[in-house]
C-alpha cells in the first residue's frame, strides 16, 4: 500500500512541479508581456526589426512550401475527383482545404520551426550571457525591450504569412490543375468563388492563424526566458519550443475547427 501511495505522491509532485507550475508561470509571463507592451508600439521600430527577422526572413520557406502544397493538392485532388466526373470542383477542393486548414496549420508549423526556435535561442542566449541582467542593471526592463517586441512581431507576422501560404497554394493548384492537366479555367475559378464564403472560410482562417501566432510567439518567448542559462539549457529550450508549439497548433486547430465549423 505504502509503495503505491509513494508512487502516486511522486507522480503528483511531478505534475505540480513541472507542468502546473510552468503553466502558471507562463500565464504570469504572458500577462507581464502584455502589460509591458507599450514600448513595442510607441517605439515601433523595435517591433519592425523583429518583424523583419520573424516575418520577412520566413517568406521564402512559406511561399515555396505553399506553392508545392497547392500543386500536390491539385494533383491528388484531380486524381480523386476525376473518378466521380467532377474535376471542375478542383478549385473548391484546393481553396477550401488551404484556406480553412492547411494554410493556417502548415504556415504555423513552419513559423514555429523557422521563427519560434530562433526567438527562443536568441532570448535564451541573451540570458545565458547575462545580457538580460545587464539591461536590468541599466534600468532597462528586458521584458519591455526584448520580449514584448518579439511577441508582437510574431503575432503580426503570422496571419500575413498564413494568407500568403494560402494564396500561393491556390496559385499552385491553378498551375497544376488548369495549366498542366487542363481543367477548365472558368469553372475552376467560378466554382471556387461560389463555394468559398468570406466570413465562414476566409475570416475563420485568419482568426485561426492569429490564434496560432499568439500561441507560437508566447511559447517561444517564454521558453527562451525560462531556459537554464547553459548551452544545454538553450538547446533544450529551443527543442521544447518547436515540440510544444507544434502540439499546441494541432490541438488548438481541433478546438477552433470544432467551434467554427459545426456543419449547421
Amino acid at each position: 500500500m505504502t509503495r503505491i501511495a509513494e508512487l502516486l505522491r511522486a507522480l503528483g509532485a511531478r505534475i505540480v512541479n513541472t507542468w502546473i507550475w510552468r503553466l502558471g508561470f507562463a500565464c504570469r509571463f504572458l500577462w507581464l508581456t502584455l502589460k509591458e507592451s507599450g514600448p513595442s508600439f510607441r517605439r515601433f521600430h523595435l517591433t519592425i526589426r523583429e518583424i523583419y527577422f520573424a516575418g520577412v526572413l520566413s517568406l521564402v520557406i512559406i511561399l515555396v512550401s505553399g506553392l508545392f502544397v497547392g500543386m500536390v493538392l491539385g494533383l491528388q485532388g484531380y486524381d480523386t475527383l476525376v473518378r466521380y466526373g467532377s474535376s471542375e470542383a478542383l478549385g473548391v477542393l484546393v481553396s477550401l482545404s488551404l484556406v480553412r486548414e492547411l494554410g493556417p496549420v502548415v504556415a504555423g508549423l513552419l513559423f514555429a520551426s523557422r521563427a519560434g526556435s530562433a526567438i527562443t535561442a536568441e532570448i535564451g542566449l541573451m540570458k545565458a550571457t547575462e545580457q538580460l541582467s545587464a539591461m536590468e542593471m541599466m534600468a532597462v526592463d528586458p521584458i519591455a525591450r526584448v520580449v514584448a517586441p518579439r511577441f508582437w512581431a510574431g503575432v503580426i507576422s503570422m496571419p500575413l504569412l498564413a494568407a500568403l501560404f494560402s494564396a500561393m497554394g491556390v496559385f499552385g493548384g491553378y498551375l497544376v490543375g488548369v495549366q498542366l492537366i487542363g481543367v477548365d479555367e472558368g469553372s475552376f475559378w467560378s466554382q471556387m468563388q461560389a463555394a468559398v464564403d468570406f466570413r465562414e472560410d476566409i475570416l475563420n482562417g485568419i482568426i485561426k492563424s492569429l490564434v496560432f501566432g499568439i500561441a507560437v510567439s508566447w511559447i517561444a518567448v517564454y521558453e527562451g526566458y525560462d531556459a537554464p542559462p547553459t548551452a544545454e539549457g538553450v538547446s533544450g529550450a529551443t527543442t521544447r519550443t518547436v515540440v510544444t508549439s507544434s502540439l499546441a497548433i494541432l490541438a488548438l486547430d481541433f478546438v477552433l475547427t470544432a467551434l467554427m465549423f459545426r456543419g449547421q
Partner: protein
C-alpha cells in the same frame, strides 16, 4: 547589419504583399465583391418541406444566381418552413413568380429556382411568394413508387 531604412523597406514590402494575399483570398477566391447584401431586397416563401436547403444557398432564375437564402425558420402557426430570400436589387420579378426547391445534379447542393410569372407589378421587399413547390424527398419518392407498384400487382391478380 542593415540600416533602419532598409529594414523598414523590407517590412513594408512584407506587409503589402501579406495584405495583398488577404485581398486576393477575399476578392478572387471568395468573390466578396460580386454580391453585397447592401442593395438587395427580401422576399419570403413558405414551403411544406425544404429538404436539405441551407442558409446562403443560391437562388437561381433561368440558371443565373440572382440571390441567396437569407434565413430559414419554422412557422408554428401554419407548420410550414418560412424561407427568406435576399434577391439582388438589380433583378426584379413579377408578383406572381413561383419558387421551387431543386437539386443541382443527382447529389449536389439544393437551391431555389425562381420562375417569373406574368403579373405587371413587381415583388417588393417583404412580399411573400404564393406559389411554391417543396423539395423532392427521395424516401417519399421511393415510397410512392413501391406503393404504386404494389397497387399494380394487386390489380393484375
Amino acid at each position: 547589419m542593415m540600416t533602419r531604412k532598409e529594414l523598414d523597406l523590407w517590412v513594408g514590402i512584407f506587409a503589402v504583399i501579406g495584405i495583398g494575399a488577404i485581398l486576393f483570398l477575399s476578392l478572387k477566391v471568395a468573390n466578396l465583391a460580386s454580391f453585397s447584401a447592401a442593395d438587395s431586397y427580401r422576399i419570403n416563401a413558405n414551403f411544406d418541406n425544404i429538404g436539405g436547403l441551407k442558409v446562403r444557398a443560391a437562388v437561381k432564375s433561368a440558371g443565373v444566381v440572382v440571390g441567396r437564402v437569407g434565413e430559414i425558420r419554422f412557422d408554428n402557426g401554419s407548420f410550414e418552413a418560412v424561407v427568406a430570400l435576399d434577391i439582388d436589387g438589380r433583378y426584379q420579378f413579377p408578383k406572381d413568380s413561383s419558387a421551387k426547391i431543386l437539386t443541382s445534379g443527382l447529389l449536389g447542393d439544393q437551391y431555389i429556382g425562381l420562375s417569373a410569372g406574368g403579373d405587371s407589378a413587381n415583388l417588393k421587399n417583404g412580399d411573400t411568394l404564393k406559389l411554391t413547390q417543396s423539395a423532392i424527398v427521395l424516401e417519399n419518392l421511393i415510397g410512392q413508387f413501391l406503393y404504386s407498384k404494389a397497387a399494380e400487382g394487386d390489380g393484375k391478380k
